[in-house]
Amino acid sequence: MVKATRKPLQAIFDTVKAYQRVLVVGCGGCTSVCLAGGQREVLDLADELTQCARTAHVLQQYSTFVTERQCNPEFLADIEDRVKNADCLISMACGAGAGYMADVYPSVPVFPGLDTMFIGVDLDVGLYEERCRSCGQCVIGDTGGICPVTRCSKGVLNGPCGGTGDDGTCELGEGIHCAWHDIYERLKAQGRLANMMIVRPPMEWVDKGPRKMIQRGYEGRYKKD
C-alpha cells in the first residue's frame, strides 16, 4: 500500500494559520493503515494545531473527519456539508487523495498534512520499505520477485553493476541490499539462473501527464465508439 508520513507540525501550522475554520480530513485507506492519516492521527494533529494556535495567539477552530477513502468521489461527497463550513482543509491522505479532494472541492484551499513516501510493505509495526515504483511494466516474474526498478539504487535492468560489496550490499552501503545480488541468489535457489541471461530492452516509460487506465471488464462503460 501507499506509505506516508506527517509533515513537521510547524510547517503544517504555518500553511493554515491564516484560516479561521480548519477541517482536518483523514483517510480510512492506506494512510490509516500506515498510521499516518487515520482517526487517531487526525485527532492528534487537530489537538496539536489547536495548541499551536493558542501559543501563537491565533483564533482558530479545528474540526475533524475521516473519510472512508479520499481517492473516491462517493466517499468525498460525505464531507460536503463540513467543507461548506471550513475556510481550508488539511488532507491526511496520500498525495492522490489530497489532490482529488482539492479537485472535488475546488473553491476551498487544500493543504497536505502528509508527505507521500512510496508504495511499500510493512516490515513490522510502523516500519515500512518501498517495493514498487509503479512503472507499469512489472518484470518481477523474471527476477525472482525482486524489483530491479525499485530496489536497485540505479534501476539497472540488466544488472548487477560493478558496485556490489563483498557482503552483497549496494555501493551506497546504508544497509541497502544489492537488488541484483539478491535476484541472483533467489534465482539460484529456485533453479532459475538462466533468467540472469535475459537481456532486457529499454523500458517504454509512460511519462506524459497523469497515467490513466480502465480496469479489465469496464471497457464498455468508458470507451466510446
Binding site: K154, G162, E185, M197
Partner: protein
C-alpha cells in the same frame, strides 16, 4: 575496422594495448587538461576521459575528448547512464562522432549521492548493456533506438564497457561480460585488479565462454601511492579486492617510500596479469597521478607504443 581508432588498430594488429585515464578539471582551466595530456602523450594508445566520475561535476567528457582530438591525443570518451536520458545520450554520441571521437566506453555510473550534487534526480533511463546495444545499432544499422528510419552519415565508434571481476556475485561476472559482448562490446576495461588468482579464475570463465575471442580485454591497473590509500581502497571501495600480502607490503614500506613500493607492486601485477591468456592490454587508472603513467609503461617494457 569498426571505427578506425588507434586503439582498435593497435588491438587488431595484435599489439598489447595501453590506455590510461584523464580526469577533466572541476572548472574551466584548460591548462590542467593540457598538462595531463602531455604527461600521457606517447606513453599510451588512447586516453579515457571520465564522465563526472564519482558524481562530482567536472568539465564534460565530450568537450575534453574533443580537446584531446584537437591536440592529436586519442580519447576514449566515457559515458555514464546516470545523468542523461536516451535522447541526450544519442545526441551526444552523434556529436562526439562529429568531433572526431572514435572510442566510447559505456558505463552505469557511480550513484549521484557520492558526489557534490546529492539532491540530483537520477536518470538511468537506460542501463549500460542497453547503451552498448544502442550505440551498436546506430553504428551498424544506422538506426536510432526505437526507430526504423535510417540516419544519414556513419558512426565509426569502437564500443567499450567495464567489468568488475572481483564484485559479487563472482560466478556471474564473466556471464555479465558475455551479455555486454553479446550486446555489442568490442573491448572491456576492467576495474583495477590486485588479486591475480581471482582475476585468473574470472579469465578462465571468460575463455570458457569464448568471450576473449569476441572482445579485447584490458586489465585495470591502479598504482598504489601509500598505505593509507591501500587501506582506504580495500575497506571502502566496493568490488575492489586487495590481497593481505599487498596491504602488508604497503604497510611495511619505509616512510616516504610508499609510492616506490606501490610502483614495484604495480609492475609485478602487470607482468603477472599480461601473462594470462586472453589479456589484450592494460588500462592504467592512476588517480590524479598522471605523471606516474609514463614511468610505469616504460618500466613494464611497453615503450615505445606501436604506430599502426
Amino acid at each position: 575496422m569498426k571505427s578506425g581508432s588507434n586503439l582498435e588498430k593497435v588491438l587488431s594488429a595484435g599489439h598489447f594495448a595501453v590506455t590510461a585515464e584523464l580526469g577533466p578539471p572541476a572548472g574551466t582551466d584548460l591548462e590542467v587538461v593540457r598538462k595531463k595530456a602531455e604527461l600521457l602523450r606517447g606513453a599510451v594508445d588512447a586516453v579515457n576521459v571520465t564522465d563526472n566520475q564519482t558524481a562530482v561535476v567536472r568539465m564534460s567528457s565530450v568537450a575534453v575528448s574533443a580537446l584531446l582530438v584537437q591536440t592529436g591525443l586519442e580519447p576514449v570518451m566515457q559515458m555514464v547512464c546516470r545523468d542523461r536520458n536516451r535522447i541526450a545520450m544519442q545526441s551526444d554520441i552523434l556529436g562526439a562522432s562529429a568531433l572526431g571521437i572514435r572510442n566510447l566506453t559505456c558505463l552505469t555510473g557511480d550513484h549521484q549521492s557520492f558526489g557534490n550534487q546529492g539532491g540530483a534526480k537520477k536518470v538511468f533511463d537506460i542501463d549500460s548493456v542497453q547503451l552498448v546495444a544502442m550505440v551498436k545499432r546506430i553504428r551498424d544499422e544506422k538506426k536510432l533506438l526505437g526507430s526504423d528510419e535510417e540516419i544519414a552519415g556513419t558512426l565509426p565508434m569502437y564500443i567499450g564497457v567495464a567489468a568488475n571481476p572481483c564484485a559479487k556475485p563472482y560466478e556471474f561476472r564473466a556471464l555479465r561480460l558475455a551479455k555486454k559482448v553479446e550486446a555489442g562490446a568490442d573491448y572491456v576495461q576492467t576495474q583495477c585488479i590486485y588479486d591475480v588468482k581471482m582475476f585468473s579464475e574470472f579469465m578462465k570463465a571468460v575463455r570458457d565462454l569464448g568471450v576473449d575471442k569476441k572482445c579485447r580485454i584490458l586489465v585495470g591497473i591502479t598504482p598504489l601511492k601509500s598505505a593509507g590509500m591501500t587501506r582506504y581502497m580495500a575497506e571502502n571501495v566496493p568490488g575492489i579486492v586487495i590481497p593481505e600480502e599487498i596491504i602488508k607490503r604497503m604497510n611495511d614500506a619505509p616512510k616516504g617510500k610508499g609510492a616506490e613500493v606501490g610502483t614495484a607492486i604495480c609492475l609485478e601485477l602487470i607482468e603477472q596479469l599480461r601473462a594470462i591468456e586472453g589479456v589484450a592490454g592494460i588500462h592504467i587508472m592512476a588517480i590524479e597521478w598522471e605523471q606516474k603513467v609514463r614511468e610505469i609503461v616504460e618500466k613494464a617494457n611497453l615503450l615505445p607504443r606501436p604506430t599502426v
